[in-house]
Amino acid sequence: MADTHPLEEGISRTSVIWLLVAQLMVLLPLRSVLPLPLLAIALLSVIWRLTLWYGRSFWPPLWLRIALIALALGTVVVSFQPLWTLEFMVSVLAVAYSLKLLEMRHRRDALVVVYIGFFVVTTSVLFSQSLLQAAWLLLCLVVLIAAQQGLYRRTDFLPVVSSLRYGLMLVLQAVPLTVVLFVLVPRLDPLWSVPQPDYSATTGVTDRMAPGDIARLSQSDELAFRAVFEDSLPPASERYWRMVVMDQFDGKSWYQSSTTDLVSKGIAVTDWQQDQRQPVDWWLQQPNGYRYEVLLEATGSPWLVTLGPAAESQGHFLLLRTMRLEAGSPLYERQVYSVSGSTPVFVDALPGWLRKLNVQLPRGNPRARRTARRWMLEEKGQPQQLAMRIMRYFQEQGFAYTLSPPLMAGESIDRFLFSEKQGFCAHYAGAFVFMMRSAGVPARVVSGYQGGELKPEQNMIQVRQFDAHAWVEIWVNGKGWVRYDPTMAVAPERILVDLQTALGLDGGFLNEKPLSLFRYRQVPLLNDFRLFYENLEYRWQRTVIDYQREQQQALLKQWLGTDQLQWRQITLLAVIVFMVLGGMSLLLLDRRDKKDELSRLYKRFLGKLQRLGVQLQDGEGELSLAKRIETEHPELSDTVWAFIREYVECRYANNKTVEVGQIKSLKIRLNLIR
């Protein structure tokens, strides 16, 4: 067992294998962040290192390594505009991580690789903190630690897997202390601003709606938000989650007025948005009976979602004149906020500037304009009558609801209304508002989500990206903003049931996600599993991921009282850490003698016999016991003798120590007795 070689600082083969496995595992969650060529380079490094491991290859020469680095950096620079983004930094780190494999000859190099691995695996949680991601993180840690441990372990006589077992053991042992630190270490506020993950590629409601945009969202089963209600849940017809209000149209797409737009038109910013709770002169707040908490996933935009129009600002959020809430800055983390719902009751006419904003139209689409004006005259100037007329038109003229409408260039609204007659909610809402405005009725497109999945046991509604929807509000004097949903005229099941039903089973719903569990809601077992997992995920998000400064303070106040909280917190932290460490050291340093282990095994053996009906008699030694069993219980004889022989040999042989292997073998023999 002694090594006669001098201490060498090479890298053991075990360690290389685990480093390669770790590499692949760590990079897997980043696959959508990294540009494709970088993934190729990473894979190349791993394969090359593997061939080296098999002894079928040579170390890449310096020129090749430099070429690869240049290629990687070139790719990174070309791929990211602007350069200084989180994705850029993660890519640089990841590519360094993989290329280092090609010059990893000494233990120190390998250690650098492991450390970068810890860093890279942590960057992946900046993009997702789901339960799955956390579990994956833990697995990556086991492998990384196995690799690091392998660096210091000689592998002459130890199997490759033993490192993994050790890694797992270390991770499990570190978890309790990690939890203590997680709960008790004081959380600081962000120290400086950092580049945030890029959300432009992820799906979500945007503030610019060209026909077809929302159809794209129907391909995503990603969670948009959850709303947990305090008491009653709103009925299906009221589940309109308002997020964005688009009051500008440029002929192609609808978009929100920005403050700069408004200022250029001579409208004061304070007119447009307010952050106090004080009421505005032309509407009143009236409670609508819904009190709920929203867990909004990160969107990268400042818009907040509310059930129906918002009438008052909540917390430190802004209330806009479009009856929606907005946070001060883009949301890069999940946002949790409560809404004590109130509904605006309009007591006065629309202010002039707002009316002007909501009737303006660009040139074009003459037929839609003409039709709208004619209908308005026929309906005697009643906006609601006109609205009903348009709804009826959609209903009766063979309009179809589809995710893949034909492309409508040029006079898009005319083409949609009078020739193509098929489209998605954005088409219907856009055309509807266009016609209302043509007739001089203030109208706007509202975008957000509609419906959602009910989770009655949690009194929760869970809304996914494919619930994204667009509808319409028109101003009616004396009533205020009234909601119309033209899609309702074409595909009522979209609102009353869900999108999947509205489209039929092969209507393109989640077509790009064949593995999405949501597709298989009809399969009861899979659906139960999905609901269970989603519940778990919700608890995980609520308890662990949302455990930030405020939650920590609240929890600690509950535990420790309010005065001198920080001192108590730090004292508690120190005490618990020392207790855990002390306990662990007692456990670890407990030098259990193997002779004792033998005695324990023999006790277990006797216990087993007792259960089988054999009682140890006074003064009976091992061998006499075995002999007695031979006559009394011949069916046990073989296995009992096998155990006793080996036990006696261990116990009474002249060697002073008992091998680990002997104990294992005895345990096996013990388990054979039944």
């Binding site: 250690l111 810890f118 210091y152 950092v194």
Partner: protein
């Protein structure tokens, strides 16, 4: 540098106290030291960077990751320490050798039934071995004796980085090697001319001339070259021929006969002479102040002489 080394040695002695070397030492809490290594410092730095990342992104999992690394670091202290705790090191001695020649010191390391991995054992400035110990293991450490007498290579160092290399744990053991180092061999000096009773010196030419003195019964260990094969052929009796130095030339090696002034040099010369006499089958005795070994021959006689030379004027600590 040498001064710095000895200073460190002194500091070590000061910290460890002057423990008497023992044949067997068990490592306990008082003897095991542990400090984070560079790898451990970098580990903590990575954990700190992750903490900063977590703070700036207000990201719970990044916090968890940073805390995990700190926890693992604390655990690594325990695990690394435990790798050494309770080890027993026993010296099993080794074959004597001369100053400047390598000696193999045999050590037994007993892990007391616990797996101990990648433990580096050795005396500083000598061969170090990296061993895994499942139960107990024996190792041979090659070491070069620098001074005659009982080999005292200083404190034995045992260290380990296992399992994660974050901390280095070590211990200094005052272990007795149990190996005797004979003086160096100086083979350049001619054998001294023994003095006759009448004071005339025997010439150098007589040196090595051996006179046949008869035969005696063969004893095990006698050189085959000295066996009286002719007699064996005649009488079937195995005898060994005995040669004698001429009377009065019985070689008593003494410090007084050696050239040079330094005691160590003189002892080296005497060592060389003893070995030469033994080789030439010339009975030799040794006379040192306080020591008198009567002329004789054979391995045991040689060992006795060499031991006397090795330990001459050295307090035997054992």
């Amino acid at each position: 540098m040498a001064g710095f080394q000895s200073l460190r040695q002194k500091a070590r002695q000061l910290i460890l106290g002057n423990r008497a070397p023992a044949r067997q030492v068990t490592l306990n809490q008082r003897r095991i030291y542990i400090l984070p290594g560079i790898a451990g410092m970098v580990w903590l730095l990575v954990a700190f960077l992750l903490f900063l990342m977590a703070v700036n992104y207000a990201n719970s999992l990044a916090f968890a990751m940073s805390f995990f690394m700190v926890s693992l670091f604390m655990l690594a202290i325990l695990h690394t320490w435990r790798n050494l705790a309770g080890l027993t090191v026993r010296s099993l001695g080794g074959e004597p050798a001369h100053v400047g020649q390598p000696v193999r010191v045999k050590l037994e390391i007993d892990g007391h039934n616990r797996e101990r991995i990648a433990i580096k054992v050795g005396w500083p400035d000598h061969e170090n071995l990296n061993v895994d110990i499942l139960n107990s293991t024996q190792i041979d450490l090659r070491i070069t004796g620098q001074r005659r007498g009982w080999l005292s290579p200083g404190l034995l160092r045992i260290e380990s980085l296992y399992p994660l290399g974050l901390c280095k744990t070590w211990s200094w053991l005052s272990l007795e090697a149990g190996v005797l180092v004979y003086p160096a061999i100086d083979d350049r000096q001619p054998l001294p001319l023994s003095q006759n009773a009448n004071g005339t010196q025997a010439g150098a030419t007589r040196l090595g001339q051996e006179e046949f003195a008869g035969v005696r019964r063969y004893q095990a260990g006698d050189s085959s070259g000295h066996v009286d094969w002719k007699g064996f052929a005649r009488r079937h009796e195995l005898n060994t021929k005995i040669f004698h130095q001429p009377v009065g030339l019985d070689c008593i090696l003494s410090l007084n006969d050696t050239p040079g002034y330094e005691l160590e040099d003189k002892l080296s010369v005497l060592t060389g002479w003893c070995l030469r006499c033994e080789r030439q089958k010339q009975p030799y005795g040794l006379k040192l102040p306080g020591v008198m070994i009567h002329p004789g021959m054979g391995q045991r006689h040689l060992n006795e002489c060499l031991q006397s030379l090795a330990l001459f004027q050295i307090q035997t600590g054992t």
